[in-house]
Symmetry: C2
Subunit: 239 residues, 2 copies
């Protein structure tokens, strides 16, 4: 497979990086992402839609990718449901599952918020792990800047060139396809919660050095993030 | 592609059909499914798991497929959540979404029931449509007896050999792969509910003759099915 990024001259990459105006730390992390994509070009995500999406490897592509990478690290705001309510759900919950009609609005709203909360839990999981892994030399591929991979570390030792890590909230969510990962990349996959057994999996976290990661730590991190968000919302409301 | 079923002798198919003990109507419908799979063997589903799954085309395969086909038409019992509760959801709903701690148990339960209710809505949709289409000569591929296709009709007219129909509850659910469908099959795809716009789509139902299908009819069908189930549950409880 031909690397698309390596067809970019270093001056073109430099041009993209200058347009991104990253600070030094973020820039060096993003450069690791670019190196990894140069090694495994099949993992380059698409950035932008349709005919307007810049071609992989172009200056515009690197700029868009860098913006995704940065945006993925911005302060997390919980999403609101983006889909319309289907009144059929009321019929099913009432007649099959015995909900009282008066309960239905809150039940349906709870469900819709829980759906977006589940997405949020995946975001929070990556952030919590990133806090621990980045000081150990890993780079968080924030903003889905790499397909099917969440963390990478350059580890040239003759046998492998890169370590990659994919983390999932639950063992039963679909695996992102990682068949495109190039030989010479040692990929580990990990999930936090076993959907049927109800147990968490921190004991098996594949990066040994990240020994302080724990379920208690993660839940404390989530509550702190939520409370920070809530207090900010309140102060914004009170303006 | 070599048809696997056509490697079955008609006496082997007869043997499988006798073991299934279908009544005449169900048998003739299932024979249409077998004919379609013989035409498009790439759409044969797997039946059973792992090393114990019978080989496509074997007598055991046809028996298992027939049992799926029949079970898919049995009286519908609403599923209960099959996964464990993740306490992290409580943290997120409380801190990010402002739920009061006392509300959390019911909110989480509502969400879990709504998840299985959404699966049920897809089942109910197929059944409602089947009521209308089967009298028109279509066969409902009940029990996921055909991959990526829900209804079929044999329509040899020189140009096409079969009509096939895939129905979905929502426009944004993933499309089953139908790339395996053989040329000579005219496949239509339809969805009921537009997730963003919130409108239903019965006006565009692709089988013109099925003109009485409507959102009102579907919702009445769902409520009647739910009430029938609830009254049966009550009478069972009172025994």
């Amino acid at each position: 497979m031909v690397s698309v990024l390596s067809s970019l001259s270093s001056s073109a990459i430099e041009q993209a990086l200058q347009r991104l105006k990253f600070d030094g730390v973020l820039r060096s992390k993003f450069e690791v992402v670019l190196d990894f994509l140069d090694y495994s070009p099949a993992l380059m995500p698409s950035v932008g839609r349709g005919a307007m999406a810049p071609k992989p490897g172009s200056v515009g592509y690197v700029v868009n990718l860098g913006n995704k990478f940065r945006a993925g690290r911005a302060v997390l705001a919980p999403a609101q449901p983006g889909t319309a309510e289907d009144p059929l759900m009321d019929d099913i919950l009432e007649t099959f599952y015995g909900f009282a009609p008066a309960e239905l609005p809150r039940a349906v709203q709870s469900h819709r918020l829980a759906m977006v909360a589940e997405n949020l839990s995946g975001e929070l999981l990556e952030r919590y792990i990133a806090q621990e892994l980045e000081p150990l030399g890993w780079v968080w591929c924030s903003g889905s800047s790499v397909r099917a991979v969440d963390f990478i570390k350059h580890t040239p030792d003759g046998r492998t060139e890169w370590h990659a890590l994919q983390v999932k909230s639950r063992n039963n969510t679909e695996n992102s396809s990682s068949s495109a990962i190039r030989k010479g990349t040692d990929i580990s996959k990990w999930w936090r919660f076993h959907a049927k057994k109800g147990r968490t999996n921190w004991d098996s976290f594949p990066v040994e050095a990240a020994g302080t990661l724990s379920e208690e730590g993660f839940r404390a991190y989530v509550r702190a993030a939520g409370e920070k968000f809530a207090s900010k919302s309140r102060s914004e409301v009170s303006l």
